[in-house]
Structure formats: structure tokens, C-alpha cells
């Protein structure tokens, strides 16, 4: 406040100053406030062109020097300006004065009120101080009391703690003292578990304090009782009448009583063995021959529930009880399971072996399924014993045997069919009628075999049914389908069928003709049908039913077909041989038994030739039933008998005409040799094609060649030669129609007549016309 007038002394020096300096001053006041409140001078000043703060001429500057300022004003400003600044300064000074007054008033009021407040507070605090003092005193008193109480109670507390400890000890002691009686009671009541628990609890204490006589007595008592307990438990354990769970309990208790686990485990297994052996014995009794054996399903059920169930229980209990035994214990159990399992398997196999002959696959498969399913549980429990694997093996073995059985069955069925055919072939001959045709028989055989095959496939298919537990084993998915069913059963059967059929070809009794020729023919056709269609059908069927996933090589259809075709060919060739032989024998007997030198002039065709033609016709009919006609050489298929016979007889004449001119013996040979040069060699037993004409050609070739060879071994009189001539002409008349190339018949018959002429000392042939007449009459 004093500053103002101090400051205001300036305007007196320069009256115009306050007016001019008023905003500056205010600003200066603000700046100082700001300075006071920590704001920077510069910022608050906000002068655009900040003059030097050290400028002594700045009214608001901190270093304002009124002398300098005045000097400056006086020196620089003209009078008017000085005047102006003087007024301005005065105005500013006034304004500043009023401002200051206002501020003082305001602050004064505030100060007054503040003073009042402080005074009031002073009073209040004084009161509070008194109360605090009182409180402190009280607290001291309380503390004092409390300490005194504590001190008083200290003694009691210790005694109580001690007493509590004694109490507990006494309780324990009491328990100990009562222990023998309790144990006795427990044992008497049969509450073995309780007894064992008591014993367990007391054991350690007794052990520790056994040097004290009283405890020792208790311990001795306990030991006696425990021994009795153990004895009783063992007794119970040994009696073993009760089921496996009780036994397990016994063992558990005994274990808790510290009995040696090793020994217990032995005993446990021995007991289990006893029980399981009982099961096995009962199973074996079922197997026995005397009582009617239950069906296999029942058997496996019994085995499954009795033995396998028991084994499961034993295994589970054992693993629980003797888990501490470690791998050695597990090994013991595995050995145990292996041994008993082995015996069980042996029994099952014996039973299954009895079943092998049976026909019902579905029952067997169900039984096997159960058997296999039951063994999965112990299998999982006792992986080491390999029970599941062994079971799978048994199932596989049975399946294999089953396949073998079915193969046998199919073979037997095939043989049965053959027997039927034989009988059917034999029967109508007695009745003198045709009976069932060959074609019908063939159809019967084919369909019966096919149905047997299908039945077998269906039966075997049960093994791979989805719901059967073992069907997803690799064996049943792969090898069983491909090697077992396809190769073993189907291919094996077709092969054996071919072999059986072929065996008819080289049976030693080929002379007696043990196999009826019609059967050969039928089998040949059967094999041919197999080659063309049936094999691929059957194999497709098999492949569809048994989706073969196995990649192992299988016999291709073409190989089988080739085999079947070969069989068919051999059978047909054999048929030709057999039939040819039959006719050959007739011809041969007729040539060998006759006295050709002293025979009479021929009047008739010999009966045997008619018989030959009849038989050939019969064969033709027989073959025609099963085989197609085939192709013959077209050249003279429409040639009538007459033109044919004229041709042949004229030919004959030309052929051996020179031979009756005695002067030219060489010509005969020459002529026949020249003849042969131009004719093709005749392969007598040549391969046969699958058609009627080829078959008949084969038979006739064989027959005529035989005739030729027989004729060459004989000597003929004139009439003998003529008889041969007549016979040959007759054959020519009737046989040409059966063969593929009638030229063949010509050639062979010509040769026969020529040979007969050579074998005749007096060859005078009959007139061809006479020959024809005789033949037509015959």
C-alpha cells in the first residue's frame, strides 16, 4: 500500500505518465500475481513484440528505472506527447489506486473471518486434549488388569492341556488293553475286516512299547489272537466253498495281516485253479461219450460263462490284490491263464472237432462267435497270456477245416452225381427204353453241382458276416476270402472235378470199359460248359460275395478255363477211343474168327457190319444229344447214295484191276504207292474237336484202320475177298454220312479191299453191280 504512493511519486514527475501507463501497470500487477502463482512472466505478459525485460525504460519491467525513463521521455518526446503521457500516467495511477483499494477491502474481510475460525478451533482442541488424556489413563488401567488376569490363569491352562493329553493317552491305552478282547469278539463274530483294522492300528504302538511288560502281554495276546485270525482266515480261504469275491476278501485281509504275498498268491492261484479245473471237468464231462453231448452252441455257452467268466474274475481279483507284486506276479498270472486257457482250448477244439462232420454251419459260426467274444474280456485283461490270439487261431483253424470239409462235401456231391448218372445210364438199358435223355442228365448234374457250390458258398459266407465278432480279423478279411474260399474251395473244387473227370480217361481198366462211354461224353460236355460259362459265373459269384481285399495272386479264370477245356478234350478223345475200340473189337473178332479161305460165295452183308452201322448210328444219336453237328466238307454233302456208290465201285475196280494180271506184280505196288502219294496221311487217333462230326470221324477212322490191319493178317480165298468187298461197300453206303470228309472213308475202305486182294491167292472180285444188289438187299 505504501508502494502506491511511492510509485505514484513518478507521475508527479511526469504527469502525463499515469494515463499512458495504465494498461501497462495493470499488466504488471497481473504479471507479479502470476509470478507469485508460478506462471512465467513472459507468457502472462503476452506482449507481441516482447521488449527486453531488462529494459529500464519499461514501466512494467522488473528493472524499471524511473530516472532513466524520465530522461528518455524528456529527451525523446516533444511536449505534447509529454503532456499526453503525463495525463495518461495520472489516469493510470488513479485507476491503480482504486483497484488497490477494492482488493484491500476484500482481503480484509476474509482475514477477519479466518481469524474467527482459528479462534474457535483453538477452543475445541483444548477440550479434546482433555478427553484424550482421560482415555490414556483408562487404557493403562485396563492393560494393567489384563496382565494381572493372564498371570493368574497361566498356571491353570497348562494343567488343562496336560490333562487333555493324559486323557487321550488313557483312551489309547484303554483301546490297547481292550484290544485282545475286541479282537476275540471280532473273530468270534466273524467281522474279520474290523479285526484286521484294529490289529493294524495297534500293531505299530505295540511294536514300539514292547519292552514294557504290560504292553508286551497285550502284544502277545494280540499275536495269539491274530494268529488265530490268520488261521481262521486261511481256513476259510482254503475251504474255498464261497465264491471268488469272498476269497479275494480273505486274501486282502491276509495281505493286510502281513502274510507273505508270494505264498498267498500261489495259494490263491491254486484255489482258482481248483475251481476252474472243476469247470473244465464239467465241460469235459459234456464232451464225454456217454451223455448225449449238448449242441456246440450250448457247450461254448457253458464254457464261456463257467470257465471264461471264472478266469476273468480270478484275473481281475488277482490284479487288484497282487498289483504290488510287479511284473513277476503278472507273469505268474499269465502263465496260469496260459496253462488253463490251453486246456480249455483243447477241450473246445475237441468239441469243435466233433462238429466238423456236421452240416450246420450257422450253429457252428454262432458258437465260434460266442467263444471268441467271451474270450475278448480275459484277452484284454491278460494280454500277456495271449488268450485272444489263441482263440482267434482256433477260430481260423476251424474255419480252415470247415473249408476243407466243404471241399470234401462238394467232391462227394460231384461223385454222387456221377453215381446217379451211372445208375440212370444203366437203368434204361434194362428197361429197353431211352429213359431220361443225356441232355436232361447233363442239366441235372450241372444244376445239382451248381446248387451245391452255392450252398457251400452261403455256408462259408457266415464266417464273414458283419455281426460275427471275428469277421474283421485280418485273416477273415483277406486270406480266408482269397486263399481259403476262392482258391481253396472253388478253384480247388473245379480242379478236383477236372481231375476226377480226367481220371476216367486213364483208368487202368480201359479194356473192360469200366466207365460207360455216355458218362465220358456227358462229363466232356460238362467240362466244356464249365469252360464256356460256368467257371466265370461261379468265380464272379464268389468274388462278389467275398469282397477279396487280399492282393495275393489268385488263379485267373482263363487258366481254369484252359484246364477245363483240356479235360473236356481229353474226355472226348477218350470217348472216341473207347467207342472206336468197341467197334474195332467187333470188326476184329469178325475177321479173326472166320475161315476166309473156305468161305462160301457171299449172299449177304455180314451181320457184324450191320451191327457196326447200327452202333455208329446209336453213337451218332448219343453224341448229337450233347454236341453240335459241326462242319463237314461241302463237296458231296448232297451226293446221293447211288452216285456215291457208283463212283466208289468204279474206283475200286480201277484200283485193283491190274492185280489179277499175273504178269505184272510190280504194278500193284506201284499203283498203290502212287495212290498214296496223292492221298494225305491219315492220322488215326488224331485230336478231336468239340462237335459231332469230328467225334464220329474219329470213331470211324479207328474202326476202319483196325479192319485194315486185321485183314492184312489173314489169307483170303476168292469168296473171302468178295465177302470183304461186299462188306466194305455196305460200310461205304452207310458210314459216309457221319464223317467230315467222306473221302476218308473211301480211302480207308479202298485200302481194306486192296489189302484183302493182296492177301488172296486167287483174287477174282465180284461184279460191282452184284455187290450193289447184295448191299441194297441187306
Amino acid at each position: 500500500m505504501a508502494a502506491g504512493p511511492d510509485h505514484g511519486s513518478g507521475p508527479g514527475d511526469s504527469p502525463e505518465g499515469p494515463e499512458a501507463e495504465a494498461p501497462e501497470r495493470r499488466r504488471k500487477a497481473h504479471g507479479m500475481l502470476k509470478l507469485y502463482y508460478g506462471l512465467s512472466e513472459g507468457e502472462a505478459a503476452g506482449r507481441p513484440a516482447g521488449p527486453d525485460p531488462l529494459d529500464p525504460t519499461d514501466l512494467n519491467g522488473a528493472h524499471f528505472d524511473p530516472e532513466v525513463y524520465l530522461d528518455k521521455l524528456r529527451r525523446e518526446c516533444p511536449l505534447a506527447q509529454l503532456m499526453d503521457s503525463e495525463t495518461d500516467m495520472v489516469r493510470q495511477i488513479r485507476a491503480l489506486d482504486s483497484d488497490m483499494q477494492t482488493l484491500v477491502y476484500e482481503n480484509y474481510n476474509k482475514f477477519i473471518s479466518a481469524t474467527d475460525t482459528i479462534r474457535k478451533m483453538k477452543n475445541d482442541f483444548r477440550k479434546m486434549e482433555d478427553e484424550m488424556d482421560r482415555l490414556a489413563t483408562n487404557m493403562a488401567v485396563i492393560t494393567d488388569f489384563s496382565a494381572r488376569i493372564s498371570a493368574t490363569l497361566q498356571d491353570r491352562h497348562e494343567r488343562i492341556t496336560k490333562l487333555a493329553g493324559v486323557h487321550a493317552l488313557l483312551r489309547k491305552l484303554q483301546f490297547l488293553f481292550e484290544l485282545p478282547s475286541r479282537l476275540t469278539k471280532c473273530v468270534e463274530l466273524g467281522a474279520y475286516g474290523q479285526a484286521v483294522r484294529y490289529q493294524g492300528r495297534a500293531q505299530a504302538v505295540l511294536q514300539q512299547y514292547q519292552h514294557l511288560p504290560s504292553f508286551r502281554a497285550i502284544q502277545d495276546d494280540c499275536q495269539v489272537i491274530t494268529a488265530r485270525l490268520v488261521q481262521q482266515l486261511r481256513q476259510r480261504f482254503r475251504e474255498g466253498g464261497s465264491g471268488a469275491p469272498e476269497q479275494a476278501e480273505c486274501v486282502e485281509l491276509l495281505l493286510a495281516l502281513g502274510e507273505p504275498a508270494e505264498e498267498l498268491c500261489e495259494e490263491f492261484l491254486a484255489h482258482a485253479r481248483g475251481r476252474l479245473e472243476e469247470e473244465l471237468r464239467s465241460l469235459e464231462a459234456e464232451l464225454g461219450p456217454s451223455p448225449p453231448a449238448p449242441d456246440v452252441l450250448e457247450f461254448t455257452d457253458h464254457g464261456g460263462s463257467g470257465f471264461v467268466g471264472g478266469l476273468c474274475q480270478v484275473a481281475a481279483a488277482y490284479q487288484e490284490l497282487f498289483a504290488a507284486q510287479g511284473p513277476a506276479g503278472a507273469e505268474k498270472l499269465a502263465a496260469f491263464a496260459r496253462e488253463l486257457g490251453g486246456r480249455y482250448f483243447a477241450l473246445v477244439e475237441r468239441r469243435l472237432a466233433q462238429e466238423q462232420g456236421g452240416g450246420d454251419n450257422s450253429l457252428l459260426v454262432r458258437a465260434l462267435d460266442r467263444f471268441h467274444r467271451r474270450l475278448r474280456a480275459p484277452g484284454a485283461l491278460l494280454a500277456a497270456a495271449g488268450l485272444a490270439e489263441a482263440a482267434t487261431e482256433i477260430v481260423e483253424r476251424v474255419a480252415r477245416e470247415r473249408l476243407g470239409h466243404h471241399l470234401q462235401g462238394l467232391r462227394a456231391a460231384f461223385l454222387g452225381c456221377l453215381t446217379d448218372v451211372r445208375q440212370a445210364l444203366a437203368a434204361p438199358r434194362l428197361a429197353g427204353k431211352e429213359g431220361p435223355g443225356l441232355a436232361e442228365l447233363l442239366a441235372n448234374v450241372a444244376s445239382s453241382i451248381l446248387s451245391h457250390i452255392k450252398a457251400s458258398l452261403a455256408a462259408v459266407h457266415l464266417f464273414t458276416a458283419k455281426e460275427v465278432s471275428f469277421s474283421n480279423k485280418p485273416y477273415f478279411r483277406g486270406e480266408f476270402c482269397s486263399q481259403g474260399v476262392r482258391e481253396g474251395l472253388i478253384v480247388g473244387f473245379i480242379r478236383s472235378m477236372c481231375q476226377t473227370a480226367q481220371s476216367f480217361c486213364d483208368s487202368p481198366g480201359e479194356k473192360g470199359g469200366a466207365t460207360p462211354p455216355a458218362l465220358l461224353l456227358l462229363l466232356s460236355r460238362l467240362c466244356l460248359d464249365y469252360e464256356t460259362a460256368t467257371i466265370s459265373y461261379i468265380l464272379t459269384l464268389t468274388d462278389e460275395q467275398f469282397l477279396v481285399q487280399d492282393q495275393s495272386p489268385v488263379t485267373p479264370v482263363s487258366t481254369l478255363c484252359a484246364e477245363a477245356r483240356e479235360t473236356a478234350r481229353r474226355l472226348l478223345t477218350h470217348y472216341v477211343k473207347v467207342q472206336g475200340l468197341v467197334i474195332s473189337q467187333m470188326l476184329r473178332k469178325s475177321v479173326e474168327t472166320r475161315d476166309w479161305l473156305s468161305t462160301l460165295e457171299p449172299r449177304n452183308v455180314r451181320a457184324v457190319m450191320k451191327r457196326v452201322v447200327e452202333d455208329t448210328t446209336a453213337i451218332d444219336v448219343q453224341v448229337g444229344l450233347l454236341y453240335e453237328e459241326g462242319v463237314r466238307k461241302a463237296q458231296s454233302s448232297d451226293s446221293s447214295k447211288r452216285t456215291f456208290s457208283v463212283y466208289s465201285s468204279s474206283r475200286q475196280q480201277g484200283r485193283y484191276a491190274p492185280s489179277y494180271t499175273p504178269s505184272a506184280p510190280m504194278d500193284t505196288n506201284l499203283l498203290s504207292n502212287i495212290q498214296k502219294l496223292f492221298s494225305e496221311r491219315i492220322d488215326v487217333f488224331s485230336p478231336v474237336e468239340f462237335n459231332k462230326v469230328s467225334v464220329l470221324t474219329g470213331i470211324i477212322k479207328i474202326s476202319l484202320k483196325t479192319l485194315l490191319e486185321c485183314v492184312r493178317l489173314r489169307t483170303f480165298g476168292r469168296f473171302g475177298l468178295q465177302q470183304v468187298q461186299v462188306d466194305c461197300h455196305f460200310l461205304q453206303l452207310y458210314l459216309w454220312r457221319f464223317v467230315a470228309d467222306e473221302e476218308l472213308v473211301h480211302l480207308l475202305l479202298d485200302e481194306v479191299v486192296a489189302s484183302a486182294a493182296l492177301r488172296c491167292p486167287d483174287p477174282v472180285p465180284m461184279e460191282p453191280s452184284v455187290v450193289e444188289v447184295i448191299c441194297e438187299r441187306g
Binding site: 506184280p665 505196288n669 504207292n673 492220322d683
Partner: protein, 387 residues
């Protein structure tokens, strides 16, 4: 290494009878007997000159009848026996006789073939094998190792043992046996075993093979149903005493061990018609020759049942020599039984095949049309066997 072409000789007449001159071991000589009902029958003595591939023939007349079988003495080159048909009063009887050929023909005089027919000589009859009581003679077999004094002849169902006395001019029946049974039993063929001191003879009748002991004239063994049909011929393995081969109308050739009469050791089925003749090679018994009425002659190599199943033991040096020339021979070493060759020179049924007695690599076959073919074992095989 080309094989020589076969040599073919033609006779004017039909012929079935062929034999090597057994006593001759130097020259290759065969005897062929003809069958003609209208002319005088002949015996052709056929000399084969191996070096020049030339045939020399001499013809002997055999006027008594057509010849069905011929055999030569193993001791005397000039002596032979024939079975021939004699026709009289519209009856045919097959007789047998022992003959001697002219001295100069015994070892083959080399006449020119042209004039031989004009100067045909006749045989000198030594003796008849009297068969009036026994029926038709099927064949005459000489004791193979002996002095040419013993002969077996088969007549219908009789087997007759003859002693030839006084230089074969007299035949005395020394023993006989006959086949009893129902039906008309007839021997078709017989052979004298070279083993067991020549005391065994085997015969074929119908489908049965029988062995006989010549000392007691009793049956030793019997193979029933040896063939499905008639057995045509048989032959003994010259080196394995229990082995014999047989052939027949079932087109098969079977090899037997006479100790096991139930099963043949081996069966061949190569011919397509009756097999009339089977002959073991005299030295190398793996070589078996068969002739058949399918006009073929087949030479088979039956190594597996021969006395030389692994071939000759060959020195290593020889093998190495061999390798230079024929490396492929080595690979064939374990030979399989197989057909060596099929000879198709004949146009008619072949009724006789014979190995030469002088050259083990040479054989002759005779077909009904009178064609005689002389063939050799293929050289490659010959060297394979020898080396």
C-alpha cells in the same frame, strides 16, 4: 553236323519180317523176308556200306511160303530161322524151319545188284521145327548168348524149347509149356532175356506179359493187362536185367520192372496207331526204337530209366574241349526223356524195326509195302552220348 539222309530200299513184295544178321559184328547186314501169296518168296540180304551210303543186296529164294517171321543165329552167320505160311487144301498153317544160306553169301559177296535177281540162290533146309501137334508158329527166338543150339518157338498157346543137334540139322524138342485158360490163347511174340545166364524168356499173349524159366519151363512172372489191348511186341533192356519194354494196340509203349508187375515204370504214348515193334539199342539202352501202323518210326531217349541215367562220366578236359565246339551241349546236360526223332519215310504200316548188330547208331525199318529204310541216330545225340 548234318545228318545223313536215310537210305531207302524197295522190295517188290509186301514184307513183314526183318532181322539183323546177329552173328555179324563188322558189316551192317539185314535180312528181310517177303510175303507174297502168288510168287516165290524171297529173303533179301541187305548189306549197307556205311562209308559210301550204298546198299548191296543178295536174294535168296524161299519157296515154301510167305515169311511172317525171321531170325538169325547168334553164333553162325549162315544159319537163320523163318516162320512161314504153308497153304494147302484151303488151310493155312504157319510152320517154322531152320535154314542155312549159301556159304558165299554169309559175309556178303559184293555182286552187282543188277544181276542178282536172275541168279537167285536157294536156301538149304537144315531142319523143320515140327509143329504138327502144336499149331501155328508165331516166332522163333534164338538163345542170345549161346552157341546157336537153343531155340524157342511159340506156337499158338505152346512155348517150345528146341535143341539143335548135329550142326543144326536135327531139332529135338527139349521142353515145352503151354498156356491154359479159357478162350483161344495165342502167343503173339516172345524174346529171350540176355540176363540170368539166358534162362529167361518173356512172351506176350493177348494183353498179358509172361516170363518163363527155360530150365523148368515154368512161369516166373506174369504182368496181367500190361496193355489195354493186344500186346504186339516186347524187348529186354540189354543192360538192366529186370527191365523190359512192351508195345501194343493201345498205341502205348510201356517200360516194366519185372519185380513190380502192377505198374509200368514209364509209359510213352507218341504213336497214333498200334505199335508193332519195340527195340532197345544193344549198347545204349536209353535209345528205344518203335514202329507203328501209323507209318511212323519213333526214336525215343529214355534216359531216366536207362543204365546211363546221367550219361557217360566225362573228363573235365574233354568238357573243355567240347565247349569250344558245342557250348550249347552243356546246357542240355541233364537230359529229359524225350522223342529224339520221328521218321516219316514210310507210306504204309511199319511192322518191323531193328538195330544193326554191327553199328549201334544205325537201324532199319520195314513197312508193309516193302520199303526198307536205313536211318542213323542223329549225330548231335550220338556225340552227346559218347562224349
Amino acid at each position: 553236323m548234318e545228318d545223313d539222309a536215310p537210305v531207302i530200299y524197295g522190295l517188290e513184295f509186301q514184307a513183314r519180317a526183318l532181322t539183323p544178321q546177329t552173328a555179324e559184328t563188322d558189316a551192317i547186314r539185314f535180312l528181310v523176308g517177303t510175303q507174297s501169296l502168288k510168287y516165290d518168296n524171297q529173303i533179301h540180304i541187305i548189306d549197307f556200306d556205311d562209308e559210301n551210303n550204298i546198299i548191296n543186296k543178295n536174294v535168296l529164294l524161299h519157296q515154301v511160303g510167305e515169311i511172317w517171321h525171321i531170325s538169325t543165329s547168334p553164333a553162325d552167320k549162315g544159319v537163320l530161322a523163318t516162320c512161314y505160311n504153308r497153304t494147302s487144301d484151303s488151310r493155312v498153317l504157319t510152320c517154322a524151319a531152320v535154314w542155312r544160306m549159301p556159304k558165299e553169301l554169309e559175309s556178303g559177296s559184293h555182286e552187282s545188284p543188277d544181276d542178282s535177281s536172275s541168279t537167285a540162290q536157294t536156301l538149304e533146309l537144315l531142319c523143320h521145327l515140327d509143329n504138327t501137334a502144336h499149331g501155328n508158329m508165331a516166332c522163333v527166338v534164338w538163345e542170345p548168348m549161346g552157341d546157336g543150339k537153343k531155340v524157342i518157338s511159340l506156337a499158338d498157346n505152346h512155348i517150345l524149347l528146341w535143341d539143335l543137334q548135329e550142326s543144326s540139322s536135327q531139332a529135338v524138342l527139349a521142353g515145352s509149356a503151354s498156356l491154359e485158360g479159357k478162350g483161344q490163347l495165342r502167343f503173339t511174340s516172345g524174346r529171350w532175356s540176355p540176363h540170368h545166364n539166358c534162362t529167361q524168356v518173356a512172351t506176350a499173349s493177348d494183353t498179358t506179359l509172361r516170363g518163363w524159366d527155360t530150365r523148368s519151363m515154368s512161369q516166373v512172372y506174369c504182368i496181367e493187362n500190361a496193355h489195354g489191348q493186344l500186346v504186339r511186341d516186347l524187348d529186354f533192356n540189354p543192360n538192366k536185367q529186370y527191365y523190359l519194354a512192351s508195345c501194343g494196340d493201345d498205341c502205348k509203349v510201356k517200360f516194366w520192372d519185372t519185380r513190380n508187375v502192377t505198374e509200368p515204370v514209364k509209359t510213352l504214348e507218341e504213336h497214333s496207331h498200334w505199335v508193332w515193334n519195340v527195340r532197345y539199342n544193344h549198347s545204349h539202352d536209353q535209345l528205344v526204337l518203335t514202329g507203328s501202323s501209323d507209318s511212323r518210326v519213333i526214336l525215343s531217349n529214355m534216359v531216366s530209366i536207362s543204365s546211363e541215367p546221367f550219361g557217360h562220366l566225362v573228363d573235365d578236359d574233354d568238357v573243355s574241349d567240347q565247349e569250344d565246339h558245342q557250348p550249347e551241349e552243356k546246357s542240355k546236360e541233364p537230359l529229359q526223356d524225350n522223342v529224339i526223332a520221328t521218321y516219316e519215310e514210310h507210306e504204309d504200316s511199319v511192322y518191323a524195326v531193328e538195330w544193326s548188330s554191327a553199328d549201334p547208331w544205325l537201324f532199319a525199318s520195314l513197312s508193309y509195302d516193302g520199303r526198307l529204310v536205313i536211318n542213323r541216330v542223329p549225330r548231335a545225340l550220338k556225340y552227346h552220348i559218347l562224349l
